[in-house]
Point group: C2
Chain length 205, copies 2
DNA sequence: TTGCTTGTTGGACGTTCGTACAACAAGTGC
DNA sequence: GCACTTGTTGTACGAACGTCCAACAAGCAA
């Protein structure tokens, strides 16, 4: 006979999707706090409040968890950009500027996100399926930018190179901003990007 | 009585600087081949052909070895750029273009270098002395670019932002080029950078 | 040749890692 | 209530990790 009156349940059984999501979020937090080196299965399980064995039950390895964490954060970034585009109204030029401005504001320009990015990048060269995931997400990001540029009236032949250039500029500014926040401010990064945007979109006309 | 006639010496004693350099180069090779996760003290010692204990004799930890490896590779990159500037002659504009063109040619645009960069970046946020090293090397890189821009006649007030923008653009293109080499070619990256360079340097006049 | 300095070795140590798995219990259908 | 499914636990295991250090030997000075 077992008494279960005054004691809490030993664990709660979660929906598989919800549990996966909580593990992904715990992974992002540990990566942000401890860096790549300190992000072990045990640390992530502790952060998520579950036992170490459960991580292996949902993900074949820590690489897969990092890959899903990257996809999760990329989705958050994408949602933040969508919100910024929405708020910018319908003027194509304003939408394009909102795109780059949002890239240097919270929650995107956060040094904590960088750790997840770096962990993912470190897997790209050695794991082919992760390289494929990176290619897809990069292509998706660039395609949206090409759409914005087209709405601004940029001729189709120029779209590809302009999108590559602006993506690289934003990525480079974002990277430096996260790595050494005192080199320049988010506001300055945005101003630089918008200025470059003006130079790039006018020079080709 | 020991016979040393037909057997090779058990080890050769190297100059401290030479031994440090060989460890640094072995570290770069292991990082390029195995990635951050596979770069242990043992693996690096094996690559350098020395015993594991020797790594600890020269470096207090693997972080310090990675930091010195980063500095070593940055010096190689800097030398490659200097050579490109030298070869470009004395015309300021040609020198500026040689600067960005060299950034996408071997030995700089190599996916193998990326692993060292990523390993270093992963330490920036958690180790303050490594953050300082990054700041210094970034500032140095940008200062040289500002010098080139000044020689091209750019007014002083614009130098800072233009240098930040071009550095970010080159870094972003270089990063994507290393991460997914099939997205665009080194030649296209160079063309994009030179085109952006023209747009940025003419718009401010 | 002899003695000294010190770069170098190689194994021992305690820790932490990822993984596997038997036992347990929460929730569900009957 | 009862049996069944399966999400979850906790631990055990071997491998690999960083670090340490006593012993060894290469090269130099005398």
């Amino acid at each position: 006979m077992t008494l279960q009156v005054s004691s809490k349940p030993a664990f709660t059984r979660a929906e598989p999707d919800a549990r996966r999501a909580s593990l992904v979020e715990a992974c992002a937090r540990v990566l942000a706090r401890e860096g790549v080196a300190g992000s072990s299965v045990r640390a992530i399980a502790l952060e998520a409040g579950v036992s170490p064995g459960l991580v292996g039950h949902y993900f074949p390895g820590i690489d897969a968890l990092v890959a899903e964490t990257y996809a999760h954060i990329e989705a958050q970034v994408s949602a933040a950009i969508d919100a910024a585009l929405e708020a910018a109204g319908s003027d194509p030029r304003a939408r394009l500027e909102a795109f780059v401005t949002a890239s240097f504001a919270p929650p995107i320009a956060s040094g904590e996100l960088l750790a997840t990015w770096i962990a993912f990048w470190s897997l790209v060269r050695s794991r082919s399926e992760i390289a494929r995931q990176h290619d897809e997400q990069y292509a998706q990001f660039r395609a949206r930018l090409e759409g914005l540029l087209a709405e601004c009236g940029m001729p189709a032949p120029q779209l590809r190179r302009a999108a590559i250039a602006i993506t690289a500029l934003v990525d480079g500014l974002w990277l430096e901003l996260c790595l050494s926040p005192q080199a320049f401010s988010p506001a300055e990064a945005g101003a630089i990007a918008r200025q470059a945007l003006a130079a790039l979109t006018s020079s080709g006309r």
